[in-house]
C-alpha cells in the first residue's frame, strides 16, 4: 500500500469503516494523550455491488461470551480442522459442512479480500415489510391534496407484498380498517387521551376474545388469520381501495375558530400507531411514517396550546425555561421511541409547515429508531415530494435501500474496549468483557439496536485502549475489531454482515511519526463533531464549544511543531493541516450554534448529522463552494468571503441547501438578458453549468436539499453569506484594502483570527 490516504480509501470502500487513527497507540496512557479518541465511522450496509451474499450461515466461536464469526484473521489448522478465534483464542472445531477444507479450498470467509462478508439466513418465517401511514388532516386544502397524491403514488412504489396501514388524525385519531368492502370503516380515538398498548389493542379488537364462546357456535379454526389484517393489508390486495380511501380523505372537519390552531393529536396518533404494531407485528420490519403539518396541540405530546397568540417555544424560551409543554412532550415521545425501538420498528417524521412542528420534542422518535426526519415548508413542494419518493428508490439489485430491525454487535481483541456509539441506534445493554466503563456516546454495551437503516447510515463507534503501559504488545501485533450486523433485508430475508478489521499497534514513544501519518483528520473531525453534537444535546452550547476548543488546542500541542511561546513557528503536518479548519467551521455550524435557528431546525440538522456518512458529514461541517467563471473550468474555492466575486457564479452545497449565487456582474448581465442572445451563448452555458451540477447533487442527496437560486444582493444570499469565513467584514474591510470579495456584516471571528489565536494558545506553556 502506497500512502495512508490510499489505504484509508481502500478500507472505506471495502469495509465501510474509517478510523480516526489507523495505527493504534499501544497503551492506555498513550492513547489518552492522543486527544482524539480511537474511533471509527462505520457504515454497516455500505453498498457493495461486488459482494454477493453467501447462502450459508456464519461459523461462530463456541465460547458463549465470544461468539465471534470466523474470519480471515483467524488461525486455521487445516489438518485438525480447527480454527482459533482471534478474539478470545478459543480453539474451535469446524462444523461438518467444512469437512473438505484445505489451504487450497478455503471458504470465502477465510479469504483476506472478504474482510467484509454477508451471510443470508434461510431459517425463520419471513414476514412482509410494513408501512403504516400516520397522516395529519389538519392541513390546508392544497397541502392535503398534495400529500394525498404523494401517498397514492407511494402505493405503487411499495413492494407488492408489503402490508400497509393508514391512521389519520386531527382532533381525533382514526385507524382505518382496510379489509372491508363497501362501507369504509375506521376506529376513532379521542385525541387527548393517552392509552396503553393493551388498551389500544383491546379497542381495536386485536386481542383474542378471552373466552371463545363455548355456548355460541364453535369458532372455526380457519377464521383466525391475523386479526390485524383488518388494519394492515398487502398492498397488492387493497391498493385500489386505499387509493380511494386516500382520495376521500377530508380535512379535519372540526371547526377552528379565529385565533386558534387546529387541534392536532399527533401524540396520540403516534402512540396508537406504535401500539398497533407492537401488538401485532413485534420484531418485524415496519416503518411508521408520520406526516404532519403543524405542531401537536392537544393531548399527550402536545407542544403548544391552540391559542395562536402564544407562539411555539423558541430557543430563547427554552433557555428561560419558558417552554411549558416541552419536557412532558419530550418524555412522551421518548417513551414511544423506546417502545418502538424495542419492537424493532422505526418512525419517520415528515413535517411540512412554515412554522415549527415540534421536531425538537419528537426528534427522538426518528433518532432512536433509525427513522427519517424530513422538514419542509409544505407538502406541496418538490422538496417533500421528491424526498418522499426517494425513500422508495431501489439499488442495483432492485431491492429497496432500506433495512430493518438490525442489531450491531461489536467484538474487539483484548487490548481494546468499546466505549460507545453515536448514531441512530439504541443500546441493547449487552455487557461483556469488551465493554468499557467509560462511555462516549451511547455506551455500556457491545450491541445496539438499529431499527431502520439504509446503505448510508453511519455510526460513530468509540473505543478505548486498555492495554497497560507496562505490558507492551509484541512488535507486529495487531488489534482486531469485528462488526456483526444482523438485519432484515428489504427483501424480508434475514442477513448478517460481518466486517473484521485489524490495525497495527505502535509504541508512541518510538513510532509517533507512524501514528501521526496514519491520522485520518476527516474521520477524526467528524467523530469529534459527533461527540460535540452529542454533548450539545444535553449540555449548554458554550460548554461544548469550550470543550471542542480545548481538545483542538491539546491536539495542536501534541502534534504541532513549534517553539515554545512562538506562535509564528507553529506548524502542523499534512495529516493534521485541515483539522483546525474543520473545527472552525464546526463551531459556526448549526449543529452547535442555535442562534438564528429554531429548536426544530437544530434538531433536524443534528438528526442528519448523526447518521450521514463521512463525506456528507464533512459537507455539513464545511460546505463546499464551487466557482464558475469564464476564466476556466469550475473550481472549488475557499469557503471564504473573498471567494465572492462579481464575475463569478458560486455553487454552495451545505448538504441541507444548495445555493447558486450569481455575482454582481453576472447578475446584471443576466438581467440584461445576454444569455438569450445568440452571440453570448457562452454566457448561457456558464449560467447553465452550476444548474447542471446542482441537479446532479439533488439527484443523489437524501433528503432533498433546499434549492436556492440567488444573486448578489438577493435576500436569499444570506444562506451563502452566513456560511463563508468572514475574512472581510465591516470591521476590517478597509484594512484589507481589497476590492474583491464581499464583506460580511458580522462580528464573528474569521478563520485567520481563529488560527492566530489557536497558534498562540498551542505554543503557550500555560495551557
Amino acid at each position: 500500500m502506497a500512502t495512508y490516504l490510499e489505504f484509508i480509501q481502500q478500507n472505506e470502500e471495502r469495509d465501510g469503516v474509517r478510523f480516526s487513527w489507523n495505527v493504534w497507540p499501544s497503551s492506555r496512557l498513550e492513547a489518552t494523550r492522543m486527544v482524539v479518541p480511537l474511533a471509527c465511522l462505520l457504515t454497516p450496509l455500505k453498498e457493495r455491488p461486488d459482494l454477493p451474499p453467501v447462502q450459508y450461515e456464519p461459523v461462530l466461536c463456541s465460547r458463549p461470551t465470544c461468539k465471534a464469526v470466523l474470519n480471515p484473521l483467524c488461525q486455521v489448522d487445516y489438518r485438525a480442522k480447527l480454527w482459533a478465534c482471534n478474539f478470545c483464542f478459543q480453539r474451535n472445531q469446524f462444523p461438518p459442512a467444512y469437512g473438505g477444507i484445505s489451504e487450497v479450498n478455503q471458504p470465502a470467509e477465510l479469504m483476506p479480500q472478504f474482510s467484509t462478508i454477508e451471510y443470508m439466513i434461510q431459517r425463520g418465517a419471513q414476514s412482509p415489510l410494513i408501512f403504516l401511514y400516520v397522516v395529519d388532516t389538519c392541513l390546508e386544502e392544497d397541502d392535503l391534496q398534495a400529500l394525498k397524491e404523494s401517498l397514492q403514488m407511494s402505493l405503487s412504489l411499495l413492494p407488492p407484498n408489503a402490508l400497509v396501514g393508514l391512521i389519520t388524525f386531527g382532533r381525533m385519531v382514526q385507524v382505518h380498517e382496510l379489509s372491508c368492502e363497501g362501507i369504509s370503516k375506521s376506529y376513532v380515538f379521542r385525541g387527548t387521551k393517552d392509552l396503553t398498548a393493551k388498551q389500544i389493542q383491546d379497542m381495536l379488537g386485536l386481542t383474542k376474545p378471552a373466552m371463545p364462546m363455548q355456548q355460541a357456535r364453535p369458532v372455526q379454526p380457519q377464521e383466525h388469520p391475523f386479526a390485524s389484517t383488518r388494519f394492515l393489508q398487502p398492498v397488492h390486495k387493497i391498493d385500489m381501495n386505499l387509493t380511494d380511501l386516500l382520495g376521500e380523505l377530508q380535512r379535519d372537519p372540526w371547526p377552528v375558530t379565529q385565533g386558534k390552531r387546529p387541534l392536532r393529536s399527533t401524540g396520540v396518533a403516534l402512540s396508537i400507531a406504535v401500539g398497533l404494531l407492537e401488538g401485532t407485528f413485534p420484531n418485524t420490519g415496519a416503518r411508521i411514517m408520520l406526516f404532519t403539518g403543524g405542531p401537536p396541540t392537544q393531548g399527550p405530546g402536545m407542544v403548544v396550546g391552540d391559542e395562536l397568540k402564544i407562539p411555539i417555544r423558541s430557543w430563547h424560551d427554552i433557555e428561560k425555561d419558558n417552554a411549558r409543554f416541552m419536557k412532558k412532550a419530550t418524555k412522551h415521545y421518548e417513551m414511544l421511541a423506546n417502545r418502538t425501538a424495542a419492537n424493532g420498528h422505526c418512525i419517520d417524521i415528515y413535517a411540512c409547515a412554515l412554522d415549527q412542528t415540534g421536531l425538537l420534542e419528537m426528534k427522538c422518535c426518528a433518532n432512536l429508531t433509525g427513522g427519517y426526519m424530513v422538514m419542509g415548508d409544505s407538502f406541496n413542494t418538490s422538496l417533500f415530494k421528491q424526498t418522499f419518493q426517494r425513500i422508495f428508490t431501489k439499488d442495483f439489485n432492485g431491492d429497496f435501500r432500506m433495512a430493518f430491525g438490525a442489531t450491531l454487535d461489536v467484538k474487539t481483541s483484548r487490548e481494546l474496549k468499546i466505549a460507545g456509539a453515536i448514531g441512530p441506534c439504541v443500546s441493547l445493554n449487552v455487557k461483556g468483557p469488551c465493554v468499557s466503563e467509560n462511555e462516549l456516546g451511547v455506551g455500556g454495551t457491545s450491541q445496539w439496536k438499529i431499527c431502520g437503516l439504509d446503505p448510508t447510515s453511519t455510526f460513530g463507534i468509540y473505543f478505548e485502549v486498555v492495554n497497560q503501559h507496562n505490558a507492551p504488545i509484541p512488535q507486529g501485533g495487531r488489534g482486531a475489531i469485528q462488526f456483526v450486523t444482523h438485519y432484515q433485508h428489504s427483501s424480508t430475508q434475514r442477513r448478517i454482515r460481518v466486517t473484521t478489521i485489524a490495525r497495527n499497534w505502535a509504541d508512541v514513544q518510538s513510532q509517533l511519526r507512524h501514528i501521526e501519518a496514519a491520522f485520518d483528520q476527516e474521520a477524526a473531525a467528524v467523530l469529534m463533531a459527533r461527540l460535540g453534537v452529542f454533548r450539545a444535546e444535553s449540555e449548554e452550547g458554550p460548554d461544548v464549544l469550550r470543550w471542542l476548543d480545548r481538545q483542538l488546542i491539546r491536539l495542536c500541542q501534541k502534534f504541532g511543531q513549534y517553539n515554545k511561546e512562538d506562535p509564528t513557528s507553529f506548524r502542523l503536518s499534512d495529516s493534521f493541516s485541515l483539522y483546525p479548519q474543520f473545527m472552525f467551521h464546526l463551531r459556526r455550524s448549526p449543529f452547535l450554534q442555535v442562534f438564528n435557528n429554531s429548536p426544530d431546525e437544530s434538531s433536524y440538522y443534528r438528526h442528519h448529522f448523526a447518521r450521514q456518512d463521512l463525506t456528507q458529514s464533512l459537507i455539513m461541517i464545511q460546505p463546499i463552494l464551487y466557482s464558475y467563471s469564464f476564466h476556466g473550468p469550475p473550481e472549488p474555492v475557499l469557503l471564504d468571503s473573498s471567494s465572492i466575486l462579481a464575475d463569478r457564479i458560486l455553487l454552495m452545497d451545505t448538504f441541507f441547501q444548495i445555493v447558486i449565487y450569481l455575482g454582481e456582474t453576472i447578475a446584471q448581465w443576466c438581467k440584461a438578458g445576454y444569455q438569450d442572445m445568440p452571440e453570448y451563448e457562452n454566457f448561457k452555458h456558464l449560467l447553465q453549468a452550476p444548474l447542471d451540477d446542482a441537479q446532479e447533487i439533488l439527484q443523489a442527496r437524501f433528503p432533498m436539499p433546499r434549492y436556492i437560486n440567488t444573486e448578489h444582493g438577493g435576500s436569499q444570499a444570506r444562506f451563502l453569506l452566513s456560511k463563508v469565513n468572514p475574512s472581510q467584514t465591516h470591521n476590517n474591510l478597509y484594512a484589507w484594502g481589497q476590492e474583491t470579495g464581499a464583506p460580511i456584516l458580522t462580528d464573528d471571528v474569521s478563520l485567520q483570527v481563529f488560527m492566530d489565536h489557536l497558534k498562540k494558545l498551542a505554543v503557550s506553556s500555560a495551557c
Binding site: 381525533m172 372491508c180 363497501g182 362501507i183 375506521s186 379521542r190 383491546d202
Partner: protein
C-alpha cells in the same frame, strides 16, 4: 250487604223518561216539583245552559238531581246510596231501586251528571244495614220518593234517594233483608243472586218490580248493574239480619218522610254535611224496621256481597258516555267536572284549559288546609301539555307579542291569561296569581268595555282561551341563541342477540320508511329534523352519511370509558338530501354484522355519545335506542344481574326498583342540560335490569318500550315498531313551570323529567303522550270568591326549531264545605295520582307499607265523607260519595297491580317497566291499565261497527260460548271460550275446531269473512287508540296461557293474593268503620 245507590233514584227518573214514560211521568211529576230547585241550578250554571238545552233528558236529570245539589253546588247533587251491609239484603232492596236504573240506560245518563254526588251508604252487613234500607223505602214511599230521592241522595241519604226512586216501591226493603244475611260470608249466595240479576237486567220490567220490591234477586241485579254506587258488605258480620235490620229500619222511615220535605231546602243550603243528612238520617233509620220485616224473610239467600250489587266501573263508564258524550264540554265555567276520560266528547275552550290538557283530582278545592287534611283527598293536577286533539278541535293559537316577548306579571312571572284583571281603564292589570299591579305596555293597551273587559278580549287568545301559545323571544333561549332544529339519532344494538332475532334487519327496513314520517311543523313540506345513525355492541359505530359521499363511512369508537363523538360533519343530516347514502347504510348494516359473535353490549356510553353529538351540533334532540341485553361489557354503567326473586316481600324489595349505580342519574342530568331526550326500546330475552336502564329515559322525558322475547317471525311486531316510530316526539321542551294562585303551591311532581329545584320541571323532551302530575298543598287560606287558578307554562322548541311557550290555564272552585269537595272529585284522576304516588313510594319503602298507606288513605277519604257529609247512618252501612264510588274497585286494581303485588310469573323487569310507565301515564291510560277493557266479540250484531259494550273484568262474566278481547294499553288478549261455535272458530282462525287453535297465537289469519274482518278491525282500532303497540295473544279457555289472561280479570281474586273486588270492598268498609269508631 246492600248497596244503596243514590243513583238509583236518578235512574229512576231517567227511566221514566225514555223507557217508561208513564212511570216517569209520575216520578217526574214529583221531580218536577223539585224542579223548583233546578232553577237555581240553572242560574248557577249560567254558562252551561247550552249544555242543558242540548240534552233535554239531561236537563231533566239535572233538574232532578240538581235540586238538591244545586243548592250547594253547581251540578252535582250527591246521591247517597245506602247500602246495607248486611249487604245482601241491602243490595236487594237496592236492587230493586237500582234495577230500574240499570235497566234504563237513559236514566243513567241523566243521572250521570248529577251522580257525582251520589253517596252510597252501606250498612254494615249484618247489622243495621238492612234496616236502613228498609226504612228508606218506606220513607221514599212516603212520597218523598219521587223528587226527593235525588235530594236525599245529595244530602242525607242514599236511602232517601233510593226511595225516592221508588217511593212506594220500597219493596226493596225486602231485598235488603235478604242481602243482609248473605253478606260476604257465603259466596254461594252470589250465584243465586247473579242469576237473579240477569233477569233483572231488563230495565223496563224492573221498574215495575221496583214498585213491588218484592223480588230481591231481580231488583238486586238490576240495581247493581245500572248503578254505580256500591255497597260492600262487611264481611264477617253476618249478624242476625232480621234483628239488626229491624233496628235500623225502624227509625228510617220516619226520617225520610220528614226529610223529604225538609230535605230539598236543606240541600240547597248546606248540602252535604251535617244538617241535612243527620236529620234525614235519623229518619231513614226508623224506616228500617219495616224493612226489617222484609228482610226477615229473605235472610237465607244472601251469604255474600253480590258482585252485581256493588258499583260497576263498566256501568259508570257507560252512563257517563251516554250522558255526556253527546254534548261538547264548554270550559267557560269555573270548577266544572269534565266527563270521564272514557267518554268521547268535544271540548270548547272558553277560558279554561281542556281536560285533555289538565285534569284535577278535585275541581273544588277546600279553602283551608285543615279541611284538606281532614278530607285526605290529594289535590293534584295531571297535566298533559302537548296532548293531541281530535281533528275537530283546533290546536292552540300562537300569539306573538313581538320583541318584548310574552306579557307577564312583573312579580310572579305568570303569563297573561284570561283571569288577569284590567283596571284603570285598561292602563294596568292586576295579576290574578299574586295580585301585583302591573302597567300595560303601550302597544298592548286597549280600552275596557262597561263590564271591565277589554274590548279586544275575544280577538286575543290569551284573553279568552284556556290554552294558547306564545312565540318566545331570544331571551327564552339557551345561551340567548335561537335554537337550531332538533335532531333524531337512531342507535341500534348489533350484538349477536339482536342479529340472531332478526331485529337489526327488521329495524333497518322499518327505519327506511319511518324516515318519511319525521314530525314536521304545521304545513312544512319536509321535516326540519336531522337524523343520525349509530350502531353498537361493545363498541360504538358512528356513520358518516353526508350526501356527498358515495358510500357511508363507519367510524368505530372503542373508548367506551370516555365517550366522544368522532365526527361532526355528516353525522346529522337532512333525510332527503342524504337519502341515497342512508338507504345504502341501512341496507348494509345487517350484512356487516351478520357474522358478529359479540354478545356484550354497553349502554351508558351509547347515550353519552348521542348526547355529545347533540352538544357538538348545538341542538336539542332525541335518541332512539334499540337495545337487547344487560350491558355487561366493561364500560361506565356496567351492570350485573341482580334479579333476585327472594327479595320480594322483604325490606330490600325496593332495591329491585332502584338503579344499580348512580352513573345513570348523572348521565340523565347531563342529557337534560343538553336537551337530549332518550327513548329506549328493549328487546330482551332475559333479565336486562329495566329499573336501571329506564332511569335515563325517565328523567329525560323519554319512554321505555319493552318487547319481551322478540322474534322477527312474529310479523305483527313490525307494525308495532313503525307505529311507535311515528309517534315520535313532537317537541323538545326546555322547562315547565306551574304557576298557581297564592294560597296553594305546587309541592310535588311526578312524571318523566328532571328537577333541579323544587318548582321548575326540566324536560329534555316531551311528547303528546307524556303527562306531568303536580300535587298542591295549601299555603294559606283560599278565597271562595276568587277560586284557585292554575297556569302551566311549557317552554319548548318545536320540531322546526321554533321557540314557544304553551300556556294552559285552569280555574278551580274553592269550598268551605267538604261536601262540595266530594261532589267535585274525579276518581280516575285520583287513582292516577295515587298510583303514581305509590309507584314512587316503592323506591323507598317496603311494598307492604306502600299498600297500607294507600288503603289507609282511601279509608280516610271515605270515612271523612261518611263522617262529615253522609249523615249518620248505621255503621254497618257503607256510604260512598257518588264521585268516588269506583274508588275501591280501582284502588284494589292498583293494589293488585304487578308492582305492588307481583304474581309468580311477573319478572322483576316487568315490574320495573310498569312502574316506570305509570309515572308518566295520563288519566285515560291509567284507567284502562288498572281496569282492563273486556269486550265480548259475538254478542253484538256482526254488522255493528261500534265497539261492543265492555263487560266487567271478572271470570264470572265470561261465557264459554263467546270470545273476548281484553286490553289494558299494554297487553291484548283474545280469549276463546271452550264451547264457541265451530263456525266462528272456522271463520276466525281458519281451523275446524277449538282444539286446533294454536294457543299463544299472535296473528289472526287474514280471512275474507265478516267476522274475521270485524275482529281484526277491532284489534286494529284498539291498537290505534293506544300509544304503544299491543301484541295480541290468543288464549284458549282451560289452557295454560289462561293463567296469564286471568291475571287481568281484576275483579277476581288474584293468584298472587290480591283480593277480589267484593272482598276488598268489605275490607275497606271495615277500615272505614274502624276509623269512624
Amino acid at each position: 250487604m246492600n248497596v244503596n245507590q243514590s243513583v238509583p233514584p236518578v235512574p229512576s227518573f231517567g227511566q221514566p223518561q225514555p223507557v217508561y214514560p208513564g212511570y216517569h211521568q209520575s216520578s217526574y211529576g214529583g221531580q218536577s216539583g223539585s224542579t223548583a230547585p233546578t232553577i237555581p241550578y240553572g242560574a248557577y250554571n249560567g254558562p252551561v245552559p247550552g249544555y242543558q238545552q242540548t240534552l233535554p233528558q239531561g236537563m231533566f236529570l239535572f233538574l232532578l238531581s240538581d235540586p238538591p245539589a244545586s243548592a250547594s253546588q253547581s251540578l252535582p247533587v250527591q246521591c247517597e246510596a245506602s247500602a246495607d251491609f248486611k249487604g245482601l239484603p241491602g243490595s236487594q232492596p237496592f236492587g230493586s231501586p237500582l234495577a230500574p236504573v240499570g235497566n234504563q240506560p237513559a236514566v243513567l245518563q241523566p243521572y250521570g251528571p248529577p251522580p257525582t254526588s251520589a253517596q252510597v251508604t252501606a250498612q254494615l252487613s249484618g247489622m243495621q244495614i238492612s234496616g236502613a234500607v228498609a226504612p228508606a223505602p218506606p220513607s221514599s214511599g212516603l212520597g218523598y220518593g219521587p223528587p226527593t230521592s235525588l235530594a236525599s241522595a245529595s244530602g242525607s241519604f242514599p236511602n232517601s234517594g233510593l226511595y225516592g226512586s221508588y217511593p212506594q216501591g220500597q219493596a226493596p226493603p225486602l231485598s235488603q233483608a235478604q242481602g243482609h244475611p248473605g253478606i260476604q260470608t257465603s259466596q254461594r249466595s252470589a250465584p243465586s243472586q247473579a242469576s237473579g240479576f240477569t233477569p233483572p237486567a231488563s230495565g223496563g220490567p224492573r221498574l215495575p218490580s221496583m214498585t213491588g220490591p218484592l223480588l230481591p234477586g231481580q231488583s238486586f241485579g238490576g240495581p247493581s248493574v245500572s248503578q254505580p254506587n256500591h255497597v260492600s258488605s262487611p264481611p264477617p258480620q253476618a249478624l242476625p239480619p232480621g234483628t239488626q235490620m229491624t233496628g235500623p229500619l225502624g227509625p228510617l222511615p220516619p226520617m225520610h218522610s220528614l226529610q223529604q220535605p225538609g230535605y230539598q231546602p236543606q240541600q240547597n243550603g248546606s248540602f252535604g254535611p251535617a244538617r241535612g243528612p243527620q236529620p234525614n238520617y235519623g229518619s231513614p233509620y226508623p224506616a228500617a224496621p219495616t224493612f226489617g220485616s222484609q228482610s226477615g224473610p229473605q235472610p237465607l239467600p244472601p251469604k255474600r256481597l253480590d258482585p252485581d250489587a256493588i258499583p260497576s266501573p263498566i256501568q259508570v263508564i257507560e252512563d257517563d258516555r251516554n250522558n255526556r258524550g253527546t254534548e261538547p264540554f264548554v270550559t267557560g265555567v269555573r270548577g266544572q267536572v269534565p266527563p270521564l276520560v272514557t267518554t268521547n266528547f268535544l271540548v270548547k275552550d272558553q277560558g279554561n284549559a281542556s281536560p285533555r290538557y289538565i285534569r284535577c283530582t278535585s275541581y273544588n278545592i277546600p279553602c283551608t288546609s285543615d279541611m284538606a287534611k281532614q278530607a285526605q283527598v290529594p289535590l293534584a293536577a295531571v297535566i298533559k301539555p302537548l296532548a293531541s286533539l281530535p281533528p275537530e278541535e283546533a290546536s292552540p293559537y300562537v300569539v306573538d307579542h313581538g320583541e318584548s316577548g310574552p306579557l307577564r306579571c312583573n312579580r310572579c312571572k305568570a303569563y297573561m291569561c284570561p283571569f288577569m284583571q284590567f283596571i284603570e281603564g285598561g292602563r294596568r292589570f292586576q295579576c290574578c296569581f299574586c295580585s301585583c299591579i302591573n302597567d300595560v305596555p303601550p302597544q298592548y293597551f286597549q280600552h275596557l268595555d262597561h263590564t271591565g273587559k277589554r274590548v279586544d278580549a275575544y280577538d286575543r287568545p290569551e284573553l279568552s282561551l284556556g290554552s294558547y301559545e306564545f312565540l318566545a323571544t331570544v331571551d327564552y333561549c339557551k345561551n340567548n341563541k335561537f335554537p337550531s332544529p332538533p335532531a333524531f339519532i337512531f342507535m341500534i344494538d348489533v350484538s349477536y342477540n339482536a342479529i340472531r332475532t332478526g331485529l337489526v334487519r327488521l329495524l333497518c327496513e322499518e327505519l327506511k320508511s319511518l324516515l318519511d314520517f319525521l314530525p314536521r311543523e304545521g304545513g312544512a313540506e319536509e321535516s326540519a329534523i336531522r337524523v343520525g345513525f349509530v350502531t353498537y355492541n361493545k363498541v360504538l359505530h358512528f356513520y358518516n352519511v353526508k350526501s356527498s359521499l358515495a358510500q357511508p363511512q363507519m367510524m368505530v369508537v372503542s373508548d367506551v370509558a370516555d365517550m366522544f363523538v368522532p365526527l361532526l360533519d355528516g353525522f346529522l343530516v337532512n333525510v332527503n338530501e342524504s337519502r341515497a347514502v342512508i338507504t345504502s347504510l341501512l341496507d348494509q348494516i345487517p350484512e356487516m354484522f351478520a357474522d358478529t359473535r359479540e354478545t356484550e353490549t354497553v349502554f351508558v356510553p351509547v347515550i353519552q355519545a348521542g348526547m355529545e353529538a347533540l352538544k357538538a351540533a348545538e341542538c336539542a334532540g332525541k335518541l332512539f335506542l334499540f337495545h337487547t341485553s344487560l350491558p355487561i361489557a366493561e364500560a361506565p354503567g356496567k351492570l350485573k344481574n341482580r334479579d333476585d326473586r327472594k327479595l320480594i316481600n322483604t325490606d330490600k324489595e325496593k332495591t329491585l326498583f332502584q338503579p344499580q349505580t348512580g352513573a345513570y342519574q348523572t348521565l340523565a342530568k347531563e342529557c337534560v342540560a343538553q336537551g337530549c331526550c332518550v327513548d329506549v326500546f328493549l328487546f330482551p330475552n332475559q333479565y336486562v335490569d329495566v329499573a336501571t336502564l329506564s332511569v335515563v329515559p325517565q328523567l329525560t322525558g323519554g319512554s321505555v318500550y319493552k318487547y319481551a322475547c322478540f322474534q322477527v317471525w312474529c310479523e305483527e311486531q313490525v307494525g308495532g315498531l313503525s307505529l311507535e316510530g311515528r309517534h315520535v316526539a313532537l317537541v323538545i321542551p326546555f322547562a315547565l313551570t306551574v304557576h298557581v294562585a297564592s294560597g296553594i303551591r305546587a309541592v310535588d311532581f311526578f312524571g318523566a323529567f328532571y328537577m333541579s329545584n323544587t318548582t321548575d320541571v326540566e324536560l329534555a323532551g316531551l311528547d303528546g303522550d307524556k303527562t306531568v302530575t303536580v300535587e298542591f298543598k295549601h299555603d294559606d287560606r283560599l278565597n271562595e270568591e276568587s277560586g284557585a287558578l292554575l297556569q302551566c307554562a311549557l317552554l319548548y322548541t318545536s320540531c322546526a326549531g321554533q321557540r314557544r311557550l304553551r300556556i294552559h290555564n285552569l280555574a278551580l272552585n274553592c269550598c268551605t264545605q267538604l261536601a262540595d269537595l266530594y261532589r267535585n272529585c274525579e276518581t280516575d284522576t285520583l287513582i292516577n295520582y295515587m298510583a303514581k304516588f305509590a309507584y314512587r313510594g316503592v323506591l323507598n319503602s317496603p311494598v307492604k307499607a306502600v299498600r297500607d298507606t294507600l288503603i289507609t288513605q282511601c279509608a280516610q277519604i271515605l270515612a271523612c265523607y261518611r263522617k262529615n257529609c253522609a249523615s249518620p247512618s248505621s255503621a254497618g252501612q257503607l256510604i260512598l260519595p257518588e264521585c268516588m264510588k269506583l274508588l275501591p274497585v280501582y284502588l284494589n286494581c292498583v293494589l293488585k297491580s304487578d308492582v305492588l303485588q307481583p304474581g309468580a310469573e311477573i319478572t322483576t323487569d316487568d315490574r320495573a317497566y310498569v312502574r316506570q310507565l305509570v309515572t308518566s301515564m295520563d288519566v285515560a291510560e291509567t284507567n284502562v291499565f288498572f281496569y282492563p277493557r273486556l269486550l265480548p266479540l259475538t254478542k253484538s250484531p256482526i254488522e255493528s261497527t261500534t265497539e261492543p259494550p265492555a263487560v266487567r273484568a271478572s271470570e264470572e262474566r265470561l261465557s264459554n260460548g263467546d270470545m273476548y278481547l281484553l286490553e289494558n294499553g299494554l297487553n291484548l288478549f283474545l280469549w276463546v271460550g271452550a264451547s264457541v261455535q265451530q263456525g266462528v272458530v272456522q271463520s276466525l282462525f281458519s281451523v275446524s275446531s277449538f282444539s286446533q287453535i294454536t294457543s299463544g297465537l299472535s296473528v289472526l289469519p287474514v280471512l275474507d269473512n265478516p267476522l274475521s274482518k270485524k275482529v281484526r278491525g277491532l284489534i286494529d282500532s284498539l291498537r290505534a287508540q293506544r300509544s304503544r303497540y299491543m301484541k295480541l295473544i290468543v288464549v284458549k279457555q282451560e289452557d295454560k296461557l289462561e293463567m296469564l289472561f286471568k291475571h287481568f280479570l281484576v275483579e277476581d281474586k288474584s293468584l298472587s293474593g290480591g283480593a277480589s273486588y267484593v272482598d276488598f270492598l268489605c275490607h275497606m268498609h271495615k277500615e272505614i268503620r274502624q276509623l269512624l269508631s
